[in-house]
Amino acid sequence: MIYLNKEQTDIIRREVQRQGIKLPGLEEDLVDFLCTAVENELLHEPDFNKAFQQVLNTLTPNELKMTQERTQELLNNKLSSLQIVAYTALALLGFGFVLTMFAMPFATPIILGATALLVVLYFYSNIRWYFTFDNKSWKQKLVFSAGLFVVFLLLLGFIFKLNHFKGADLMMVSSLGILIFLPVFFSIYFFIKQGNTQIKFILPIIQRHRTSLELILIFMLVLGFIARFLLINSLGNMLIIISLFCLSILFTSYTWPYYKPDNKKSLQVLLLFMSIACYVSLLVAALFKIMHWPLPLGRWSDVYCLLLALLTFVWYSRQLIIHKTVRYFLLFICTCLLSGYALLLFLGMSQHQAVAGIIYNIPVLILLTAILLFFYKHTLFKALAVFLFGYYVLAYPYLLMPNKSVIEKVYQYNPEFVELYNQTYENPGNTAQWKQLLEYPHKARNF
């Protein structure tokens, strides 16, 4: 039996990597399959290159990539015990938030317990994944350990911040600071050096958890907006910030697979710029909000970074998310939030009115859904789209008229009191303002 030497094995391994195989375990399987097939072929054809070509000819075009796609499809089909525990923790988290909203007991222990469970799950799943991944170099071990430490610090910081413990600010600033600069460095490194091995190491972590991450983010974002709507601002802000923070990582990761040597175009430079800008602006916004620092560009910076994220997503979602419905749904959520928020800023509403405005913006969201659904091939969706469109046309005049009253209905607080409230929370060191806020007559707080 002929065994391939290192050089020949590397040629085959590079071919497997070139075809985009990144799934741990599968890459080894396919390299071994091709090597064994070539070794058998070498018994009849002594030239390695010809033998390798003949083996490749027996495969259909993109067969290796198709193998990976089918494997991913099959593996994602069922809920693993890990996912069940994660969803239970999320449900508990949701339950905890509901308890908080109604000021009922046991809310804090439930929220903290669920958060701690999610943190443990995060580490467990990453460590489990890491140990099934072979050929680890010391660099990869270092990156992995550093990454885990930073995320641990960040999560611990969040828990400390939620409980107003000492040291939270230090943890948040240091971990977020590292997280802001590290992926910027990686993005540029991938682009310049075409660091395929690094992509192979980092991308599977995100790809493996992408579906779960998207669900968690949507859940958190919705909860955040509900909290803002109920004027539980600290909780709402925290949830929105966390989800925005995760979104920034997710959006940046969409662009990484495109930094390939044979695929470098001027458009990619733009993509690189966009992904970095999106990531930095979202994280900087998160950091500034957590630390109660004034935002450099005011609230328009939110719109700017969300717009970048949305554009990046629209551009590349087709290739990255197979299911059209999921793609449309995510796109829909992003567009809704962005359009609603931009509209409100344009109309010059205050921070609290923004929540009310988003509710007012619901018909616009319905119209967007209708348009998106209309392009979906299924007849049932088209019928639904026509129905929604009809509803929108009929409802629009009624929804437009009570614009002000809808906002006033939700936003019942006296603007002067809200202004004082915001100013106090923006400058927590001002004791005179705190006194003024606490002594503000209860009756005068409402309209």
Partner: protein
């Protein structure tokens, strides 16, 4: 050559059956064994075998063993205790199903008129 469509639902069972008769096997070996036993009538594609192997491993029916083969790693698959009982069940189910299909295929032409009335 048999159509891959016909084999779609049976591949899992075929792999479990092969592994129940061998201590451990690797992907290429499984493909070759299927080809050999079926006299070349079933030539499974890479895109068919490996996803099922990974799925079975994910379900806990298979376990893996990594062995260095020169400059590469070879992954051997073998049945877990759960996999062995799953294999037994699946083989029985498939045998029963094939018996039913065989009965359907053995219909005499004259009897078909009974159903057409």
């Amino acid at each position: 050559m048999h159509s891959p469509e016909l084999l779609k639902g049976m591949l899992k069972t075929i792999i479990l059956k092969l592994l129940s008769e061998h201590k451990r096997m690797y992907g290429y070996e499984i493909i070759q064994a299927i080809k050999e036993i079926s006299d070349g009538k079933i030539d499974m594609a890479v895109a068919a075998i490996y996803p099922v192997l990974h799925k079975l491993r994910d379900e806990g029916s298979l376990t893996i063993e990594k062995v260095a083969m020169g400059e590469r790693v070879r992954i051997y698959y073998s049945l877990t205790p759960d996999g062995s009982s799953a294999a037994k069940e699946k083989i029985e189910e498939l045998t029963d199903f094939l018996g039913t299909i065989s009965k359907l295929m053995d219909f005499k032409p004259g009897l078909q008129s009974l159903f057409l009335v």
